[in-house]
C-alpha cells in the first residue's frame, strides 16, 4: 500500500491515484494506486511499455481528466506539450505564442515584447511571421515549447514531445530543454518510451509496469551534467533500466 502523506515541499504529488476507463466487464484499469512525488525544479522521466498509463498520468496531473481514486496535488501553474506540436494552423508562430499570453490576460504591448523574447529563447527569433506549415518538425516543437513557456507555468508536462523527430534534431532540442528548464527552475514530468532519452534528461527515471500502470522502480540519475545521449555512463544506466523493463514485459508474456 502507498502512503497518502502529501509532502509540503513537492511540486507534484500523486497519492494512491487510480484510473479506470469504462464500466462493467469492459472496464480497463489504466493506473493502479500510483504514488509519486516530484520536488520543485526536478526533472522526472516516466518510462514504460505502451499501455502503462504514462499519458493517462499526465492528463490527470494536467487536470484534463479526473482520477477514479486517490489525490493529486500540484503547486503552481501547469503547462503541457504533446507529441504533436498542436499549434493552431491559422495563426503564425508568433500569434500562437501570443495567444497563450492573451489567455492569461497579458496586455497588448507586453504581449508583443514577451512573444519576441520567448521566440528568442527557443532560437526562433525572426520566424514569428511564419505559419506552422512553413516550419520544420523540430521548429514546430520549439514553437510549442515557447507557447508552453508563455503560460508561465511552474510545472511542465511533456508527453513524448520529441518522439516524432529524427535523432539529430532531438539531440539539439535536448540541449535546449536542459538549458531552459535550468534557467527557469521548471519542474518537469517527461513521458517517453526511449530509455536513453530518459537517462539523458532526467534527474530521476520512474519505470512503470503495464496494465495496470504501477510504479515499478525508480532510478536516480547521478551522472553529472551536461550529459551526452551516447556517452558510456548514460548507456550503462539505460542498459540497467532496459533490463528491468524486459523482465517486466516477459512477466506479462508479451
Amino acid at each position: 500500500m502507498s502512503t497518502n502523506t502529501v509532502t509540503e515541499a513537492s511540486a507534484v504529488t500523486l497519492a494512491g491515484v487510480s484510473k479506470v476507463y469504462g464500466r462493467g466487464p469492459t472496464a480497463v484499469q489504466a493506473l493502479d494506486k500510483v504514488s509519486l512525488s516530484v520536488a520543485p525544479g526536478e526533472f522526472t522521466c516516466l518510462i514504460g511499455a505502451s499501455g502503462c498509463g504514462k499519458s493517462t498520468m499526465l492528463s490527470l496531473v494536467a487536470g484534463l481528466d479526473k482520477p477514479t481514486a486517490g489525490n493529486i496535488a500540484v503547486s503552481g501553474r501547469v503547462a503541457m506539450m504533446f507529441q504533436e506540436p498542436a499549434l493552431f494552423p491559422w495563426l503564425t508562430a508568433g500569434a500562437n505564442v501570443e495567444l497563450a499570453l492573451r489567455a492569461r490576460g497579458v496586455g497588448r504591448v507586453e504581449r508583443r515584447q514577451r512573444t519576441g523574447e520567448l521566440l528568442d529563447i527557443v532560437q526562433l527569433g525572426g520566424f514569428g511571421t511564419k505559419r506552422p506549415h512553413e516550419l520544420s518538425g523540430g521548429m514546430r516543437q520549439r514553437v510549442a515549447l515557447a507557447r508552453a513557456l508563455a503560460q508561465d507555468a511552474d510545472v511542465l508536462l511533456m508527453d513524448e514531445p520529441f518522439g516524432a523527430l529524427d535523432a539529430m534534431t532531438r539531440d539539439v532540442l535536448h540541449d535546449e530543454l536542459d538549458r531552459i528548464t535550468d534557467e527557469r527552475n521548471l519542474t518537469v514530468l517527461f513521458v517517453t518510451h526511449n530509455v536513453r532519452e530518459a537517462v539523458r534528461l532526467g534527474d530521476r527515471v520512474v519505470v512503470l509496469s503495464s496494465r495496470p500502470g504501477r510504479v515499478l522502480e525508480e532510478f536516480p540519475v547521478a551522472i553529472p551534467a551536461p550529459r551526452r545521449i551516447d556517452s558510456a555512463p548514460v548507456a550503462e544506466l539505460a542498459g540497467q533500466i532496459t533490463d528491468r523493463l524486459r523482465e517486466e514485459m516477459s512477466r506479462h508474456g508479451e
Partner: protein
Amino acid sequence: MASNDGPSFSQGTWVADGAAPAGTALAGLDALDLAGRPGGGRGRLALRLWNAFWPKVLAIALVLGIWELITLSGYKKEIFPATGPTLVNLWDQAKTGTLWQALGNTLESAVIGFAVAIVVGTVIGALVSRIYVLRAAVGSLITGLQTMPSIAWVPFAALLFGNNNGAILFLIILGAAPSIANGLITGVDYTSPLLLKAGQMMGLRRLSLWRHLIMPASLPVYVAGLKQGWAFGWRSLMAGELIVLVFNHPTLGELLNNDQSLSDLQSASAIMIVIFIIGIFVDGLFGAADKSIRRRWGLA
C-alpha cells in the same frame, strides 16, 4: 503568400542570430527539410490570372462547340435555339433595360436573402453545436429541411406571404440556412481534440475558447457550408421567381416564365446563359475564399 519580407530559410540566418553554443542553433537533420522547400507559389500576377483563365475559356468553347454540333445536326430544327442567333438574342436583350432591371432585382433578392440566411444559419448552427439537448432535438430537423426540395415550399410561401418579394426571400433563406447551419455544426464537430486540449491547457475557456479556437478551426467546413447554402439558395430563388410573379417587379425567373408562355425558346436560352454565368461567378468567389484558407493552413 505575398509577404516576401520575412527572413529566408538559409543556414546563415541561423548562425547569424544564434546565441546558441558552437553554432548548433538549429542544426537538427530537419533543418535540411527547409532548404529544399519552395517559397510558395509567387508567380507573376498576369501569369496566375492566365492560368486560372484559359481552362474556363476552353470549357466555354467546348460547350459552344457541342451546342453548335446539335444545331448542325438539325435536331428539332423548328424550335431548337441555334447557337449564333441565341447569342445575338442575348446581346439584343442586354441592350434593353428589362434584362438589367430583372438582373438587378434578382441579385438584390439573392444578396439580401443570403445575408439573412448566413445570420440565421450561423446562430442556429452555433447553438445546436454547443447545446446537447438542442442537438438531439433539432439536429435531424435541419438535415430534413436541407433535403426538402425548395419547390415544395413555393405554395406555402406564396399563400403565406402573397405574391410579393417576401415570399421569394423566405424561399432563399429556407434553402440556404440549413446548409450553413450544418456546415458550422460539422466544422465544430471536426475541431481536433488535440487542439482543444492545447487550448484548454492555455487557459481558453467558454467564450475565448469559442472565439480563438473553435470558430477559426471550423472555418474551412463553414465556408464549404456557405458555398452549398448559396447553391441551394440560388436554386430556391429561381424556383420562386418562376412561380411567384410579383407585379411590376421583373426578375430573371419572371422573364423565363414569359418566354415559356410565348414559346420563345431562344430568349429563354439567353436568360439561362445569364443564370449559368452568375452561378459560375459566385462559385469562383467561394472557391477563391476556400483556396486562401487552405493556403494559410498549409493544405494547398
